[in-house]
Amino acid sequence: MSGHLLLAGGGPVIPNFGKPNECLKHNGWFCTYWIHKHWHDILQPALIQHIQLTVIAVGIGFVISFLLAIIGYRFRILDGPIGVLTDFAYTIPSIAFFLLLVPLTGVTVTTVEVALVAFTLFIFYRNIVVGLRSVPPEVLESARGMGMTRGQTFWRVELPLARPAIFAGLRIATVATISIATVAAFLIQDGLGAPIFDAIGTPDLFHTELLTAGGLAVLLALTADFLLAGLQRAVTPWTRTR
């Protein structure tokens, strides 16, 4: 009868209940006893893994998108095709993406990272290109008038002025990646998705584990968004006047 339940890679059948406790016996939604007991062996490691998964995906995704965006910005004719390709990767549901990569990269963290990176490309690419395009022609004209080379204009004029859009993309990509990385646990026992899938896989659906691990994922996403918003304000002081 467990055919309909989620098959997370080999978790214990009744995981992590620990010693019987009134709250756990009633499958309560927030049993502090369990959270205390399993913070160090379940929740904290999962949280750290989740941050690693996200940072790697967002970092690599940003670098690739940045290079693609420079190409799409300089050679307008390539903007369309790159846009369509990244959109294509974004549109394939993550679970299908993971599975279709399995024959190539196996049931590994690489598979998960490749899919997560592919997912961020669309968000980053669009935002970086839009940011670069938003630089007014007069500004570029005066940079040229000041004798700046093309490279100087890019690094010292266009890129700084594109920051608001780039940071907007960074916030969206980070929050979305944190959320989608939970699905990775369908494939590998990694990140906050692992305890979430474990909880859903228990016969009675372990409420406390679902809620704490899920809550940590949401909290992580909102904290990341908040911190990046602060960083965004710090590096784009001119946008604060409004």
Binding site: I95, P103, G193
Partner: protein, 218 residues
């Protein structure tokens, strides 16, 4: 090569089980589009109205951030815990996932319409309702459709994951590797991807037509 063999197996699975795959795809599509329709009915009026009044920007943007931060499997898990496995838990989960992108884009679409145009319409004696339906809605249509497209993609992805948890559809095949083998799982993944890509392409096409009709002629 093993890689080639796995994909060959998957391609072999498709013609042999085409009726099963199409039936499961139909189930996923039915679930997704029902939920999408409910999500649109719930989110569009609110987003359009708030955008028309230029009120609640924080709410509109916050909705999309929270929507993005909510992991799909947590939403599905909580609803299964509350409502049990079945039609309702899946539909409600999908509706929750589908609402934010449309809500935000409906707001931004109407909010971003040139204020001078709206003033001109008001000066001509149009009622607020007429302004919204006759001026703001057509002009904001491309952005609104972009939001619907985003919702559709999210909802199809969620419908697949809901299928893993007993919601039927292609997720059923993906979850039952024991029965269908890796070939079946891969074939189902291909059908999921195709469903999402086709839906997005169709909506992109509609978006393009709408954009052509509303774009200012240079």
């Amino acid at each position: 090569m093993i890689v080639a063999a796995l994909f060959t197996d998957a391609f072999g699975f498709i013609p042999a089980h085409i009726s099963l795959l199409l039936e499961k795809t139909w189930q996923t599509a039915e679930l997704a589009f029902t939920a999408l329709a409910i999500a649109l009915v719930l989110s569009m009026p609110l987003g359009l109205w708030l955008g028309h009044r230029h009120k609640g920007l924080g709410f509109a943007l916050g909705a999309s951030t929270v929507g993005r931060a909510l992991p799909v499997i947590v939403v599905i898990g909580v609803l299964i815990a509350v409502l049990g496995v079945g039609f309702w838990s899946n539909t409600v989960a999908l509706v929750i996932i589908g609402i934010p992108p449309t809500l935000t884009n409906a707001y931004l679409a109407v909010d971003g319409v040139d204020r001078d145009v709206v003033e001109a319409a008001r000066g001509m004696g149009l009622t607020e309702r007429q302004i919204l339906s006759g001026v703001e809605l057509p002009l904001g249509l491309p952005l609104l459709l972009a939001g619907i497209r985003l919702s559709a993609v999210f909802v199809i992805a969620t419908a697949t994951i809901a299928g893993l948890a007993g919601g039927g559809g292609l997720g059923d095949i993906i979850a039952n590797q024991v029965t269908y083998g890796l070939a079946g799982t891969l074939a189902a993944a291909m059908f999921v991807a195709a469903l999402s890509l086709l839906t997005a392409a169709l909506l992109a096409l509609i978006q393009r037509v709408a954009y052509r009709r509303t774009a200012p002629r240079a």
